[in-house]
């Protein structure tokens, strides 16, 4: 049979689409509800919101459902949806000292004003499969909740009590002149959603790219710096997780408007010594902040923020170009996957070159004659 050129692309695509739905549904088990994903796949939702750069738990959950848990693909859906929304206001800088904290720790000091608050962390769990979860039912779940609430004696006057304030640990070090403070800049922030990347990239732009970078990508580059391809020596001054108020300037020009609150993770790392403007050696600071509960990302972000400030970049993690071009999961995965597209023409051209080389060099069938 002779060669038949591939045709009928549309039909193939439509059938592939049908199969995608079929594969998601064919098991016949009860269908995932969006609220279940929001409630029970908390970290996946937060990861997708961060990388998709849109704070919306419901839509992130929808994207996770639609993509069968492929988180980069889900982030991609969210990020592209984001393009359809008009961007009307910049919020005022978030004041994280006003955070309604669920977790807050310092690795720099044993005791800190306000105290170490472990909150919901898996850090100290032994990583063993909890087989009981296989037979978990709503009865046992609600019993667990009831017992826990009884145990910690949630009081009715809970809402009336003022939210305790938690001073920032790095402020103490700044006060003692041990830390180089970050310079306040009056200039407009660099908006990476409206401008192309340029180098050197302003810090506001660097932080934005890191904030929506892929957690695994940030981890790999930050780890390279921690392990030896870098010289940062990070100590976590403070790590906070909690809810922060979001405020915008009043569109009418008078006062401000409170929009609601979002959950964020913030990491401040104290890093290697540098001389400040007066040539006094001081600690430096790296900063990380991302949507939702994602400690790994906030920490790696802070490490990379600091490593990119290196005066003489030698290592990959210190090189702005290297870091900023290589951590956006959506851009990277798109390109990596594009190799699945036909490359018939370019490959034909390469075949031609290789054959020519073999002939001109007196090679035949891969062997020299």
């Amino acid at each position: 049979m002779g060669y038949v050129a591939v045709k009928g692309g549309i039909e193939a695509i439509e059938n592939a689409e049908k199969l995608v739905h079929f594969y998601r549904l064919k098991g016949g088990s009860p269908l995932l509800q969006i609220q279940q994903i929001v409630d029970q796949l908390r970290f996946a939702v937060d990861k997708v919101m961060g990388e998709g750069a849109l704070y919306c738990p419901e839509y992130a959950a929808l994207a996770i459902k639609q993509t069968e848990g492929d988180l980069i693909e889900a982030s991609f859906l969210l990020r592209s949806y984001r393009s359809t929304l008009s961007r009307k206001y910049y919020s005022l800088p978030i004041d994280t000292s006003k955070m309604r904290i669920i977790r807050r720790i310092s690795a720099a000091f044993r005791d800190i004003p306000g105290g170490q608050i472990l909150g919901p962390t898996r850090d100290y769990t032994t990583r063993l499969l909890e087989f009981d979860l296989m037979n978990e039912d709503t009865g046992s779940a609600s019993k667990y909740i009831e017992e826990l609430l009884n145990q910690i004696k949630i009081k009715n006057d809970f809402q009336d009590s003022a939210i305790p304030s938690f001073p920032k640990i790095v402020e103490y070090l700044k006060r003692e002149g041990l830390l180089i403070g970050s310079k306040k800049s009056d200039s407009q922030i660099f908006d990476i959603t409206k401008e192309a990347l340029k180098f050197p990239c302003p810090r506001s732009g660097r932080l934005q790219i890191l904030a929506r970078g892929e957690t695994g990508g940030l981890l790999a580059l930050a780890y390279s710096s921690m392990r030896g391809f870098g010289d940062i020596h990070p100590t976590i001054g403070e790590l906070r997780v909690g809810y922060v108020p979001l405020i915008i300037p009043h569109p009418g020009g008078k006062g401000t408007l409170y929009l609601g609150e979002i959950m964020v993770t913030e990491a401040e790392i104290i890093a290697s010594v540098k001389k400040d403007d007066e040539s006094v050696p001081k600690f430096t600071l790296g900063y990380g902040l991302c949507f939702g509960h994602n400690e790994l990302k906030a920490i790696c972000m802070a490490v990379l923020d600091r490593s990119m400030m290196s005066e003489n970049p030698k290592n990959p993690a210190e090189n702005q170009e290297f870091v900023l071009y290589h951590i956006d999961g959506i851009e990277l995965s798109g390109f990596a996957l594009h190799y699945k597209l036909p490359h018939y023409v370019t490959f034909q051209a390469e075949l031609d070159r290789l054959r020519a080389l073999q002939q001109e060099g007196g090679f035949k069938n891969g062997e020299q004659s």
């Binding site: 000091f109 004003p113 103490y172």
Partner: protein, 294 residues
Amino acid sequence: MENKVNVYLNTSRYNFGFLNEEIKKEIRRKILKAVAIPGYQVPFASQELPIAKGWGTGGLQITFSLVGRDDIVKIIDQGCDESVNAVNLKRLIVKTTGVKVTTDTYQATIIQTRHRIPEIELNENQILVFQVPIPEPLRIIEPSEIETRRMHAEMDYGKMWVYLYEDIIKWGDITIGYRYPVLVNNRYIMDPSPIPRWDIPKLNMAKALFLFGAGREKRIYAVPPYTKVKPLEFEDYKFHVENFNGKKCSRCGSSNSFLVEYYNRETGEKTWVCSDTSYCTMRLKHKLSGDEYE
């Protein structure tokens, strides 16, 4: 304290000391090699434990492979017995071995530590197991493992000395605060794990066996008893420990122990306290009863 929190672990299904006996034997073999070549980093097949890599799995594998039913184990983190990580490791050890644990440094036969050597001198019957994050002392000057292995083999330590020299030129003193590199038995430069300078002299000609385990980096090394351990120093720039002159522990009053600072919860003021909580508590107890403790 134990057995309340994690209800899911069915201990009877786990081997004594978690790891299987073949692995323990293999780790002990690697420990023997490490003891035979003081300061040399012996590669070993680091196992997966139910604790994250980088949280003390190297130390834990050494402890698990050495611990016997009669041992008394002490775990400290930054000198503190009650620190979350220490408590957590202790919980796992007790659960999988049933051995006795203690906070008393004198009582312990195996002490696993992160970032500190206890203040009191250890004796010949004790083993101090260090949790090591970065076993390679030359990593600060050379990121490649192939290259650092070669440098150790050839005792090619010139770059390290240049680094220290440049540090002095740039800052007026050596800036390494912890993990101060040491020369063991006049042969290998060794990373003493992130202990403060304060603890470095305790490594020299000590009575106890020091074992170092790096789980993530898959290396075990050792300082056997009565081995020379010298911090790297120049004739005109001598090694020196942290300076706590004029400061003392706000709890037990000690002025000759390693102190850590903290900010008072109520007032925000800075206070000092012993990092070795066991030492501090013992001193406090003896102070109250009126006799001396050292």
